[in-house]
């Protein structure tokens, strides 16, 4: 019964990593969630919020408004829409016209009425544009000469904001599902217990999870960044090193959270629920899809302390603003603290059986 080992299987960490990567590659669903999903979201949102040049001002005109007024507006590039009272009310409420021109009250009165909601920025803008055109058509001369210097700043579009958010979201889900869910699944299948019964070092299992992520993350990043470059001309302004540091720190931080979330859950449903409990608030609060600056000032300290906020801020700083490591030190510190605390606590309470 005593053969010597002629086909050495290699280090346990290598074998454990191979197990993880093979399962990942052989499970078609995971490929979609890792690569297909963020790209689909980027395409959808990129199309919805694409930049198509300045929108023309749309104005509703009630019967009785003089023809020279509408003529001047059309000549000034304003879209004019004749409407009756009822239609005007509906269009205004729906925001399809910025304001409605109301004719003068009687024969002796030449006053034109602007009807609009002053709370709406596009209505105020529409009023200013329309008023300028009409006053100049009526003979007003502007005393101060001005000149328009138009600039088209790269990195200011919505898609430029969105792509780093997508990367942040992907790194978070990748670590949470790829480590947390996988560990719980191994526990449910009694595979953790079986590995423990073999002479496996416990830390090797965690090293292998980290190593597998290290191998997958560059592929994830490359796929999204290449897609963003080709489809939307989003460019990486900062250095690859800074991008790698913030991505790996973020992933490590969420790996710690994943281990904490997975430390005691006894079935896949529990861990799915716990992970959504952790991740969903951050999807909303942390500025993946829109700037977290929209939330009230009182919430900002808490929001800024969230790991996904730190990761998204760090990624945006590197990708859009070209920040170096010094510029993202704050984000890195927040991520490191989350990762370290959750990892230590997670390992202490981790249940193998």
């Amino acid at each position: 019964m005593a053969e010597t080992r002629d086909d050495a299987p290699g280090h346990p960490v290598v074998q454990l990593t191979l197990m993880r990567l093979r399962e990942l590659r052989r499970e078609p669903g995971t490929l979609f969630w890792v690569f297909g999903f963020p790209i689909l979201i980027s395409i959808a949102l990129g199309l919805a919020f694409r930049n198509t040049g300045p929108e023309p001002v749309r104005v509703g005109v009630l019967p009785g408004v003089p023809a020279d007024v509408t003529g001047a507006l059309v000549a000034g590039g304003v879209k004019v829409q004749p409407l009756d009272e009822e239609a005007a009310r509906l269009e205004l409420r729906a925001g399809r016209v910025a304001l409605v021109l109301v004719p003068s009250a009687g024969p002796g009165d030449a006053t034109l009425g602007y009807r609009y909601d002053p709370m709406r920025p596009d209505a105020r803008l529409g009023r200013a544009v329309v008023d300028g055109i009409l006053q100049r058509a009526a003979g007003r001369r502007d005393p101060r000469p001005v000149r328009d210097d138009l600039v088209r700043e790269r990195g200011a579009r919505y898609i430029d904001f969105l792509i780093p958010g997508m990367i942040g979201m992907n790194l978070m889900s990748g670590s949470m599902w790829g480590i947390g869910w996988v560990l719980v699944n191994m526990r449910v299948r009694k595979l953790l217990k079986r590995l423990l019964a073999a002479p496996m070092r416990r830390r090797h299992l965690f090293y292998a999870q980290a190593l597998a992520r290290l191998i997958v993350i560059p592929i994830e990043l490359a796929v999204i960044l290449i897609f963003a470059r080709l489809a939307f001309d989003v460019r990486l302004t900062g250095s690859v090193i800074a991008l790698a540091v913030v991505s790996l720190t973020g992933s490590a931080s969420f790996a710690g959270l994943a281990i904490l979330v997975a430390s005691r859950a006894q079935n896949s449903e529990t861990v799915s629920g716990l992970m959504n409990l952790v991740m969903l608030p951050m999807f909303v609060l942390s500025g993946v899809f829109f700037s977290s600056a929209h939330f009230p000032a009182a919430m900002q300290p808490a929001i800024n302390a969230l790991p996904l906020t730190a990761l998204c801020n760090g990624l945006r700083a590197v990708i859009i603003d070209g920040a170096g490591l010094a510029g993202i030190a704050g984000s890195l510190a927040v991520l490191a603290i989350w990762g370290a605390i959750s990892f230590v606590v997670g390992l202490r309470v981790f249940r193998w059986g």
Binding site: A2, R5, E27, A198, P199, R264
Partner: protein, 327 residues
Amino acid sequence: MPAEPADTAVSCRGLRKVYDARRRWPAGGTGAPVVAVDGLDLQIRRGECFGLLGPNGAGKTTTVEILEGILEPSSGEVELLGMSWARDEVRLRERIGVALQETRLPERLSVTEVLNLFRSFYRRARTAAAVLDDVELTEKRDAWVGKLSGGQRQRLAIACALVGEPDILFLDEPTTGLDPQSRRQLWDLVLKFRGAGGTVVLTTHYMEEAERLCDRVAIIDHGHIIKEGSPAELIRGLGAAHVIEFALEGSNAPLAEAELLALPAVTGARLSADGMCALTVSEPARALPALIALVSGRGAGLAHLETRHATLEDVFVTLTGRHLRDG
């Protein structure tokens, strides 16, 4: 601790395991602590196949998992090959092989990939080819685990336990849920390992398995051993090697236990609620005519009559009044 004989593979003394209900978070406990193992002593010799026989919930799995060093006992001492889990875990892990009651190995890995994973944990491991040959899975070496039958998976689980050339092989309910042919294949594997000098500790609730494989068995109920010995000894302990089972038809007056015990060569009688009676008898040839005379004297007939050799099941029923499969 007193010195143990050098040929002892596994020993434990005063083993107790209490599950504290409060600690079962987040599953939620019932509040009361559960005593799974309640003062258990074992001495298993090198080279023997030792069986823990008992119904579900008797504490068999908890006991082997404590012996395997996966669970901590609440109290008691365990020694394997003269070593203890607290002091020698690293060395000990290399010398035992374990197949848990149910492990679902990674479904999308091939048989060889799984074996190589387990081989990588051992400083000295057998080749995948050699182990596969032992468990007769060579032709499945490139198949995904998910495509294997129940029997093949179980043989792979045992292959994973054998890669490190263990001195002791622990098998927890190795054949539960398998068809008869797969079961026999597994038994051959166990016998081959023991034939090569290995020690086997297995749990089962199949008396036939225990009789076939085990040199000695311990019958466990409610967390402690109620009888221990070779299967033949235990059956001999019944005082008679045969069992007559019968049921009456057309009788309103059931037979009394005392009447049955008075029959020649009968050493024990059990009446169960469903009308079946089981007699342990030393000589069926003497007991049977007397039984038939008794029954016809009552004007009743026999709906069922069977004589067979006594089994470990009879031992268990005699000791506990319950059947093994009742749990």
